[in-house]
């Protein structure tokens, strides 16, 4: 369980995360949605200690992120941001192997190697494992990074806009994979999404943010309502039900 109390972060005088209180239960997929500049990515970065908060508290399974050693947290929680640039030349297997660092401090044991192969297999990267990252397409590279995060074998996985720059097919495959990670591996996945329909189709819970605050946090069906969505995005959004899933229509 991730417990966030009164979390605030300012850039200059404007708060980008403004007194957030939120509890994210263990298990399942939670999507954070909201308009641009709502503070979604900042919230994720604050939880994962990539950014220093101004005030408030964050606990991951009872471990306070301020007082817990970074290496201990790295065995509980991992984060992947959008920026995938790496200055050195690595193969997919090298990159995935870095996921074992919190457990092995760089000296891979036989058990670590097995975990690496498992993570590579989970993303169907076997054929690409010995290729260099700069030889891969954007979608393949994204999969390699996800594989590294899964290899870190943390209970909590944070993904910041994992669908960025992916076409429809790759985006859908990525979301299926995230669902599998939650269902088969028992991960708690928290992700920032722009596409409300992907969020609706694949998540268990949705957290909606606006201007640095949480405006809604509830199971999918409660958020995917015309009036709720309209108030989050300040625009008309219709909702239709298909196969028991709710789809927002906002193209007209």
């Amino acid at each position: 369980m991730i417990v966030i109390e009164n979390l605030t972060k300012r850039h200059g005088s404007t708060p980008c995360v403004d007194g957030v209180n939120l509890t994210i239960a263990a298990g399942g997929v939670t999507s954070i949605i909201g308009p641009n500049g709502a503070g979604k990515s900042s919230l994720l970065s604050l939880i994962a200690r990539l950014m220093d908060k101004d005030s408030g508290r964050v606990q991951v399974d009872g471990l306070d992120i301020d007082t817990t050693r970074s290496e201990v947290l790295a065995r509980r929680l991992s984060i992947l941001r959008q920026d995938n640039h790496i200055s050195s030349r690595l193969t997919v297997r090298d990159l995935v192997g870095f996921g074992r660092y919190p457990w092995s401090q760089g000296r891979l044991t036989a058990q670590d190697r097995a975990k690496v192969e498992e993570a590579i297999g989970f993303l169907h990267l076997e054929d690409l494992a010995d290729r260099f990252l700069d030889e891969l397409s954007g979608g393949q590279r994204q999969r390699a990074h996800i594989s590294m995060v899964l290899c870190q074998d943390t209970d909590y996985v944070m993904l910041d806009e994992p669908l960025n720059n992916l076409d429809m097919k790759h985006a859908r495959n990525m979301m299926r994979l995230i669902r599998r990670a939650a269902d088969e591996l028992g991960k708690t996945v928290v992700l920032v999404l722009h596409d409300i329909n992907f969020a609706s189709w694949y998540s268990d819970h949705i957290v909606a943010m606006k201007a640095g605050r949480i405006v809604h946090a509830a199971p999918v069906a409660e958020i995917m309502q015309p009036d709720v969505l309209s108030s989050i995005y300040d625009m008309e959004i219709e909702v239709q039900e298909m196969d028991g899933k709710r789809i927002g229509l906002f193209y007209a």
Binding site: A48, R49, L50, D52, R69, S70, E71, V72, L73, A74, R75, S78, I79, L80, R81, D83, H85, I86, S87, S88, R89, L90, D94, F98, G99, Y101, P102, Q105, G106, R107, D130, V149, Q152
Partner: protein, 320 residues
């Protein structure tokens, strides 16, 4: 094992052999007279060259790791300019005699302390007090470099021409004038820095992945980078105080190491860079001294080659 796995190890072995040959040639070629004297005299020189090669190579590798940039070297932080400024200030206020009269150990001590202090201040100010932008730090370093250079230039213009000429002579890097009495203390400083480095060496590869990934993988980022910057400061200060300012040498050997190894992991790049540094300095010095009977030109040649590599890297980076 596939070739990719074996290549860096083979390269390291080959480099070690070449470095040994260079050292042997340096010790024995053209030796006349008492062997005991020659071995001691050249041995201390060899030790000095190795120490300088090690310091410059390691500090450059680490600096590139923490900045995530393959064309930076620590000298860009204004170290060379500060060295020039310290000497210029001494000569300007106390005359050239002072530079000669002050015992070398005291001079060395002052230079190391000033340069390490400057770096620590800069790193602390820009990096640890909330700002955390490494690029800002590098930029400020460059600006300080320009400031130091201009201050030195200003004082040098007002100086008595003879003092200026004598000063100028001491400002060019010379691998030939390493003072043997400074080796002990230099060695101790470099050893201390290296022991600290050894304890955190496992996190270097992870740092290369960038700040966010390093934190996610559990590296205590700020503390770790501060420590590495401290190690760099000591290494650069020692090597600059020993031989004078060298700008592109580190870039030369580290770039070569990357090309030869084809594998950016530190367990290969660190030793390969050090060995290449030793080969360049010791081998180059041997060839120049024994074959061409030149004296202090090595630094010029090395800086020329390093400069070429720097331009090459810039152009290649721009083309990408």
């Amino acid at each position: 094992m596939p070739l990719r796995e074996r290549r860096p190890a083979l390269v390291l072995v080959a480099l070690a052999i070449v470095a040994l040959i260079a050292a042997a040639a340096f010790m024995t070629l053209g030796a006349k007279g008492s062997w005991a004297f020659i071995l001691e005299y050249r041995g201390t020189k060899l030790l000095g060259l190795c120490l300088v090669a090690y310091s410059i190579a390691v500090s450059t590798v680490l600096f590139q790791t923490v900045t995530g940039n393959r064309i930076l070297t620590p000298s860009i932080m204004g170290f060379d300019a500060l060295f020039v400024l310290v000497r210029t200030v001494i000569v300007f206020f106390f005359g050239f005699g002072a530079l000669v009269a002050v015992p070398v150990k005291a001079q060395f001590g002052v230079e190391v302390v000033v340069m390490t202090g400057f770096a620590a201040l800069l790193f602390h100010w820009l990096f640890l007090r909330g700002h955390r932008s490494l690029h800002l730090m590098v930029l400020v370093g460059i600006v300080f470099g320009v400031l130091f250079r201009n201050l030195s230039g200003f004082m040098q213009r007002m100086m008595d021409p003879v003092a200026f000429q004598n000063l100028q002579d001491t400002l060019f890097a010379s691998f030939n004038r390493i003072d043997p009495t400074l080796l002990g203390v230099s060695f101790a400083l470099v050893l201390t820095a290296s022991l600290l480095m050894w304890r955190i060496a496992h996190s270097f590869d992870v740092l290369m992945l960038g700040r966010e990934r390093a934190i996610s993988l559990g590296v205590p980022y700020r503390r770790r980078v501060a420590m590495i910057l401290g190690i760099i400061a000591v290494l650069v200060a020692v090597s600059t105080a020993l031989v004078g300012p060298v700008t592109f040498f580190g870039l030369l050997v580290v770039s070569l190491a990357h090309v030869l190894c084809g594998d950016g992991r530190h367990r290969f790049i660190l030793p390969a860079s050090v060995l290449l540094g030793i080969i360049c300095l010791v081998g180059g010095q041997t060839v120049l001294e024994r074959v061409f009977a030149f004296d202090t030109a090595l630094s010029i040649i090395i800086e020329f080659l390093g400069g070429l590599i720097f331009i090459f890297l810039l152009i290649r980076g721009a083309a990408r």
